[in-house]
Subunit: 454 residues, 2 copies
């Protein structure tokens, strides 16, 4: 996973895998076989990742997973045991296996940088190379972008709702164990500040935090014993869980055990608005004015927002974050939009598109995208075009070059993506941050050479 070029996190166990080549739908390989035989496999091609719509009611999408995509493309190779498996099962024929054995992606990738916002039609990623080398990447690219962007979009809404208070990602137990690691990463891009997931800390360098569970209190003969044990080992700055039995009594015990320097208390049940106010008052009366209140318990962006006026210092969010707050996947697709008519690498690309059925929007041709601003510097529309870029838009282009000749050009820290997202979101019209359902906050306008069919 090329750790040496990263300055954060670690590669290796338990998250890295030796090859990403098997994260692939079988038809990518059988199409390759048929194209190799037909002599069409080496036609220069451009595939684009885009989404036809945002999840219902959402105002903007968030690009996340780009860094993981670049890793996946770079590590996409067919090791001998994988080839043996494909051979044994008769998935593809010998010439195809031979071709796969030498597979390295040698093409170009452009795309919206990680953390950028997107809208229906935005060309989020563009992959250019021979049909053969590009078609194979479809499944793994979509897996990563669809999952990570869904989590980042939920995280971004929660970050808006949290009005600057820290958000802790705690959803590992609610999703696949490795999806959890990617979810923590995407949440960080979207605005979360830490995670409970040690694998995410290990792999991506995200700050990790932890409190305590009800089991710890129940293990001990009394709540006081449990708090005493925790403070003795973890110090007075620890976070004590105060809702195993009676909250008021627990808060009293907590301050009596830890003293007024008590770090924080966590509330995991009940009417959080009411309980937070009572606990704050009680902590203040007991002299623990600097003790913070952390709330958890099935929070989503709406619950977080409803606690804006409550004396809450941090939110721990699990289920609703890692499941995209109602939208666990994006509907990104990977479509061939242009290809050459023969093998000659100098042959011009011709736009191609599926005929639309059932209202699916398909626009052929390689796209550029720009975000035009209004007179106040606020984003006004997402302009997507083919052909030459109009002069007035050259400064507003959104895509950057990510890979050239199969080599990753841009490796950036998660903080860079996180800051980019914050900037991009703050450049949108104010209504972007309304949690209520609505239309995408920017309209998509096409400036294509050929008419757009819808």
């Amino acid at each position: 996973m090329n750790v040496d070029v990263r300055d954060e996190g670690r590669s290796g166990a338990p998250v890295a895998v030796p090859s990403t080549a098997l994260f692939t739908d079988q038809y990518e390989l059988t199409m390759l076989q048929a194209a190799l035989r037909a002599g069409t496999a080496h036609r220069r091609s451009v595939f684009e990742v885009f989404t036809r719509r945002l999840p219902e009611g959402r105002r903007y999408g968030v690009v996340a997973g780009t860094g993981r995509v670049l890793d996946a493309v770079e590590n996409f190779r067919f090791e001998p045991d994988l080839l043996e498996y494909l051979d044994e099962r008769g998935v593809v024929d010998r010439p195809t296996l031979d071709w796969l054995a030498d597979y390295r992606f040698t093409g170009e990738v452009h795309g919206y940088p990680e953390g950028e916002v997107y809208f229906p039609g935005s060309p989020i990623l563009q992959v250019q190379g021979s049909f053969a080398e590009c078609v194979l990447l479809e499944t793994v690219i979509l897996s990563i972008l669809n999952h990570d962007s869904a989590v980042a979009a939920a995280a971004s809404r929660m970050a808006v709702a949290a009005i600057g208070r820290p958000l802790i990602e705690m959803g590992a137990r609610r999703t696949h164990e490795l999806a959890a690691v990617a979810a923590a990463r995407a949440a960080y891009v979207g605005g979360f500040s830490s995670t409970s997931d040690l694998a995410a800390g290990y792999r991506w360098g995200i700050p990790t935090v932890g409190t305590s569970a009800h089991a710890f209190t129940l293990l001990h003969d009394s709540e006081r014993d449990a708090f005493t044990a925790q403070v003795a080992s973890l110090g007075t700055g620890t976070t004590l869980l105060v809702d195993t039995y009676d909250v008021a009594e627990a808060v009293r015990t907590a301050v009596s055990v830890a003293g007024p320097e008590l770090g924080a208390v966590r509330i995991d049940s009940g009417d959080l608005l009411v309980v937070a106010h009572r606990v704050r008052q009680q902590l203040d009366e007991l002299g623990a004015r600097s003790a913070r209140i952390v709330v958890t318990s099935d929070l989503d962006e709406y619950a977080i927002s409803s606690l804006a006026a409550a004396p809450v210092d941090a939110y721990g969010v699990g289920t609703q974050l890692v499941t995209g707050s109602g939208h666990p996947t994006c509907s990104m697709v990977y479509k061939l939009v242009a290809r050459a008519t023969d093998d000659d690498p100098r042959s011009p690309l011709v736009p191609v598109a599926k005929k639309s059925l059932g209202g699916k929007l398909s626009v052929g041709g390689v796209k550029w995208a720009a975000r035009a601003k209004d007179e106040y510097g606020v984003a006004a529309e997402e302009i997507i075009g083919t052909g030459p870029v109009p002069d007035e838009l050259t400064d507003s282009l959104l895509s950057v070059e990510l890979m050239r000749d199969g080599r990753v050009l841009v490796r950036e820290s998660l903080d860079a993506a996180r800051h980019r997202h914050e900037r991009a979101r703050s450049g949108l019209p104010l209504s972007a941050t309304q949690l209520s359902r609505g239309e995408p906050v920017l309209p998509t306008r096409y400036r294509t050479e050929a008419p757009v069919t819808a």
Copy 2:
């Protein structure tokens, strides 16, 4: 991953990971540290996995992931580089690191066997050992069971709706790349017959299949060229995608290219009910009576059911399967239900339970579970109790011993789990297979020694 004891699939790349120990929330380790120091870490303890409710409207749950859980527990160990990471970040102190270095789970695991159905309160998994060794396993056990059971539940409903027609899992591109592998596995347990995901075939031995994408047609200069290339390479038994341009013309071209032996056509858009009827009629008129019709395009159990009377031979299902058809996670929890009062391994266990807040059901004590039948042999209720098992229920107990002294006792094939699920589902009242929303099809009845608090 102990491949040698499996007779299906393969271990190793890209799905196995060297250790599952970091798929853990930080607080498991800090609780361990505090308990080690307090001298309470070695109290014999029992944790139970259960869910307080089924997803809204669902009639039954499906246990899936048990086999993965056993692998995860067996591989849960702290390699030197993980310990170094924990040390560097100051997550836990030196005595805790030393204890973790020797960690092996040495306890017992009982549970519902994989594929079994479950209801609110069912003790799906029971983990017994010292508090220290059991508490660490919480996160990874819940990750696996919550994810895999959510997918299996959706798969089971789709299998019911498909009335025996084959279901193909095609969701890899809609979920995290490794969640996809687990999803294909869970779908197979729930009743799917194959997957498009090569990693799932490689790791779990699930049959893989593939058709073709619109990109393949668009790559070629005409649809006829594309079909000719596909048939030349993959034979007349292949599945041709017929909705890139005009369906009727594509079907005509398909039969003209492949002849009446054409294997299948795939329809991926439009009104599938109408289109399937038209395509069937056309295929029959063209003499391709044995050509099958595969439909895809955002199917869920309702869409599948609505096609029951249509001439459809197989369904390809993606998004809605891997996202649990509206319920991407279960709400399983891992709770301490009993523990000894001191370190002596002979000390009796005392039941413990959090005081209920906000209506959360908490029942202390180690549970047994039985499924009572009515006079016709149909399941009538899920009986959950503590203390001695009543004589009349000893033949209806649901849990089996899965691990003893840290060793896995039961390793079974996915087919065994798949068949178990089919049997368990067919033993439920008929209303279990109604797709409409309703209450759990079996009521949960408690026979506990202490009163149940709700």
